[in-house]
């Protein structure tokens, strides 16, 4: 693999010192970035430079850097997780950029995700939605054998498709209404597909949707943008299932 070096890039980034202070864009120059480097490694290098220049480094969320923890959350050149498909920001590599590019980086923008600092937002709202019903009500212990309830391969696979959600919030950041429907649908649909989760499916759909509405996420207008930007390609067909579950719950009230 030949290592191509990007001699110069311009990084235009959202700076905001705290939730209450006003934010602004700042542009920094950075030199000699290998195209084999990841986007976040580029930010590491930029931060090192900023620190030595006496500038507060750019705060951004990241952790596993393997595309699975869902912590990284950058809006790059107008796209959640940047210019590629089926990836998180940490999996984005500099080979997607060219010499001399100006790269614009913003935090997730949504009323329910207030900025904490720079590119870091508060996604506690997602936690609250999960706490409202994203579980099967079983305690530890006293459970039947794992093979006691057969589950068809197709159902298990479909549940897994939904369960692949990493809770990053790209769907919300991408949606023009800041709707969290894909996020909620992923959990509701996963558990509705499995016999273990069916028992309390109605209650779950009702409670999670109610919590989502309460927390200020917008409504879904079926634009499908969330599905396109979801790093795990979670299909909006799960939103359809959520709607069915929700309606069934409402009619049974």
């Amino acid at each position: 693999m030949a290592d191509i070096i990007l001699k110069k890039l311009y990084i235009k980034v959202w700076r905001q010192n705290s939730p209450k202070e006003k934010g602004r864009f700042e542009t920094y120059e950075i030199e000699n970035i290998s195209q084999g480097s990841s986007f976040l490694e580029m930010l590491d290098i930029l931060n090192d430079k900023l620190i030595l220049e006496g500038i507060d480094p750019i705060a951004f969320d990241h952790d596993c850097r393997e595309g699975i923890c869902g912590m990284c959350s950058l809006y790059i050149n107008g796209r959640a997780h940047g210019p590629d498909r089926e990836i998180t920001t940490c999996q984005l590599h500099m080979r997607k950029f060219n010499e001399g590019d100006t790269i614009t980086i913003e935090p997730w923008r949504a009323g329910a995700f207030p900025v904490i600092k720079d590119l870091i937002v508060d996604r506690t709202a997602f936690e609250k939605i999960q706490q409202a019903g994203g579980f099967v009500s079983v305690n530890t212990g006293g459970i039947p054998d794992g093979n006691a309830i057969p589950i068809g391969q197709d159902d298990a696979e479909e549940a897994m498709d939904a369960a692949a959600c990493i809770g990053c919030g790209a769907c919300v950041a991408t949606c023009k209404n800041s709707s969290a429907m894909l996020f909620v649908a992923a959990k509701v649909s996963q558990l509705a597909k499995l016999p273990q989760g069916k028992v309390e499916a109605k209650r779950r759909a009702r409670n999670m949707v109610a919590k989502m509405d309460e927390l200020g996420f917008g409504g879904c207008t079926n634009t499908g943008a969330c599905e396109l930007e979801c790093p795990k390609s979670i299909s909006i067909s799960h939103i359809a299932r959520l709607n069915r579950e929700y309606l069934a719950a409402k009619f049974s009230e």
């Binding site: 490694e41 999996q91 999960q130 093979n147 549940a159």
Partner: protein, 646 residues
């Protein structure tokens, strides 16, 4: 030798756990309500423990540094979780899983602990299924299994290449249910910076709120540390960027022993380092070795051409490929345990047969299984891993073999615990990767998930009762007590000290330097000379760090550099202890390879006569050398043999 109280029950191996459970105390529901438990870390071990303790009725306070428990690095485990279910009718059993794990760990773990782990393993699968974890299924609806390294049966349960994610989300959902019920209070973006020992017992922790910078104490009747491993001491590892051993290190500094610090696992299948701009390595699941064949060129000139990029791997004809694992280990082949596979890769690369422009990589080739099974089958099994590889390296593993190289992955060492998972400080527990207990000198694949969940769901919830039963008369812990105020003062003092150095080098500079020492001298092969060099070098690095580190930002605001600075300060000290432990252990076992102790064929040579013990390091003060206590390992059921995978 001093007698160390490990609380291992008497009696036959298979009856120890049942007997112990009936012997230990139980707390009544009315009293559980009065007892507070702190759980630090919410990965598989922490989340499952916090949820289970909450269900039992204890008041739980749980802490994690991430913005959600769902992001703990357990989530990145790909391949699977072992359990002795014998669903495949291939003669698996609790005993076989126990034996494989003891042998895989190169006879440096406790029989009783490992047997218990194997014994509770089937329950974990049942529990996860009940939570809605979408494990892979056969057409008939039963659970599917795959094979992993170091074993001859198929006992690994999996959810595509995202098993850790699905298990963690299961534990997370159980935790969420308790948070909603109010039995668990969750503190995210909080970092534990000290443990508070009062009246000889762990009674709380001091944390920093990572958003506001506030330093605050929390009190409890018991403290459970579930903060994972310390692989990031090496700078480059497969650990998440935030993973750190600091919580365990604070416990060590307050008197908890550190067990086997030199035992770290080097995983054979990681994406190779691409250059000096890298800050993190990515693992490729061990499950890939089920269907991938590992090779390097037979001829040095081919390797050189490959390194220069003059030819590609597909230009090397079959007869010029050296499938060195199949050659050296015919019975296990590509599925030898991790330590063996890693050393074999290093041996080939050091001998000049490595590939990639660095010469530090070997091939993992799927050509043969694609020919045998078809692309669709391979895609169904490993699709997401192949996609991940392609995104990172820009090459298509369906067409060209993957390039892989070993990297630091897991720490078998950790806080010393007794059979109850309690450290030598009463009331202080360590579970999951944070403790030293079950994997000896090498962990088998798909066993970390098993251990984390075994500890959290099925061991700690029982054993902690034995201690808490004596605490029912202890009133709620008062965090205004002088011990707490002193600890807060010390934590704040250290943060201020770090912040006010205002030196000339970034935290990462020091972390990278530390990483070089660790990888070069305390890495895949170690010797006395190198280890001494590492100890001296890291000690100097420590001095330089405390004189010249530059922490920007503000103390009382979100400040990732300040967080990192504290962790690296601890990692530097940890590095010294790891090297000391490696120096003391002049034998090769599992992941710990001493050049001085090898067989003629270059395999690890154990020295059972002198080293069949757990090293338990005891802190004696910052300017004093730590003291080494030894817990003798007693084997009543298995015979110690030279491990062979030939």
């Amino acid at each position: 030798m001093s007698k160390i109280e490990n609380k291992i029950p008497q009696g036959p191996l298979a009856e120890k756990w049942s007997k112990h459970k009936s012997d230990i105390k139980v707390v009544s529901p009315a009293n559980k309500r009065k007892l507070d438990v702190i759980v630090v870390g919410t990965g598989l071990a922490g989340a499952s423990a916090a949820a289970s303790l909450g269900e039992l009725g204890y008041n739980v306070q749980a802490f994690c540094y991430q913005d959600s428990p769902r992001r703990a690095h357990s989530i990145a485990a790909q391949g699977g979780i072992n359990a002795a279910k014998n669903y495949q009718n291939d003669n698996d059993s609790v005993y076989r899983l126990f034996y494989d794990t003891i042998k895989g760990g190169d006879y440096r773990s406790r029989e009783a602990n490992v047997y218990r782990l194997a014994e509770v393993s089937p329950l974990i699968i049942d529990q996860c299924v009940a939570q809605g974890v979408p494990f892979a299924r056969e057409y008939g609806g039963t659970l599917a299994n795959r094979s992993f390294g170091g074993v001859l049966v198929s006992r690994t349960f999996y959810a595509r290449g995202q098993t850790g994610q699905q298990l963690l989300l299961g534990a997370y959902s159980a935790l969420n249910r308790q948070i909603a019920k109010g039995s668990v209070k969750m503190y995210t973006r909080h970092e534990m910076l000290d443990v508070v020992v009062k009246d000889g017992k762990a009674q709380g922790i001091v944390t920093r709120n990572m958003v506001t910078g506030e330093v605050k104490s929390y009190g409890a009747h018991a403290v459970v540390v579930a903060t994972g491993g310390y692989g990031n001491v090496f700078f480059l590892s497969t650990n998440a960027m935030g993973c750190n051993g600091s919580a365990a290190w604070q416990c060590y500094k307050k008197g908890a022993w550190f067990g086997n610090p030199c035992f770290v696992q080097i995983h054979p299948t990681c994406i190779p380092v691409h250059g000096d701009q890298q800050s993190k390595l990515t693992l490729m699941s061990e499950s890939l070795r089920n269907d991938g064949r590992v090779w390097v060129p037979k001829k040095k000139e081919d390797a050189e051409k490959l390194q220069k990029g003059e030819i590609g791997p597909n230009d090397i004809p079959e007869e010029d490929r050296d499938f060195y694992l199949e050659r050296r280990y015919p019975s296990y082949g590509n599925l030898v345990p991790r330590d063996v596979a890693s050393r074999a890769a290093k041996e080939r690369c050091d001998a000049g047969f490595g590939v990639n422009n660095t010469g530090k990589a070997v091939y993992l080739d799927f050509k043969y299984s694609i020919e045998r099974l078809g692309v669709d089958v391979i895609k169904a099994r490993y699709g997401n891993l192949f996609q991940m590889y392609e995104k990172i390296t820009d090459t298509d593993p369906y067409k060209e073999p993957m390039m892989i190289y070993p990297a630091i992955h897991y720490s078998m060492g950790g806080l010393w615990v007794d059979y109850n998972l309690m450290t030598n400080i009463p009331g202080l527990y360590a579970i999951g990767e944070a403790n030293f207990s079950d994997h000896g000198a090498n962990r088998l694949g798909a066993s970390a998930l098993m251990q984390g969940l075994a500890d959290g769901y099925f061991v700690l919830p029982y054993t902690i009762g034995d201690y808490l039963a004596n605490e029912i008369m202890t009133p709620k812990v008062d965090t205004n007590a002088p011990e707490f105020k002193e600890a807060e003062k010390a934590v704040t003092g250290r943060l201020e000290k770090l912040f006010n150095i205002k030196g000339s080098k970034t935290v990462d500079y020091f972390h990278k330097q530390l990483g070089h020492y660790m990888w070069d001298y305390v890495g895949m092969s170690r010797n006395a000379e190198g280890l001494k060099k590492a100890i001296d070098g890291i000690k100097k690095l420590k001095e330089e760090f405390w004189k010249d580190v530059l922490v920007p930002g503000e103390l009382n605001n979100l400040n990732p550099e300040l967080e990192k600075a504290g962790r690296v300060a601890d990692a530097i000290e940890m590095g010294i202890l790891m090297a000391q432990d490696a120096l003391d252990r002049n034998e090769s076992c599992g992941g710990h390879f001493r050049d001085e102790s090898a067989t003629e064929e270059g395999e690890a040579k154990r020295d059972d006569k002198n080293f069949t013990y757990v090293s338990c390091w005891e802190h004696k003060g910052d300017d004093k050398d730590p003291v080494l206590n030894k817990e003798d390992l007693v084997f009543e059921n298995v015979e110690l043999t030279q491990r062979s995978y030939k």
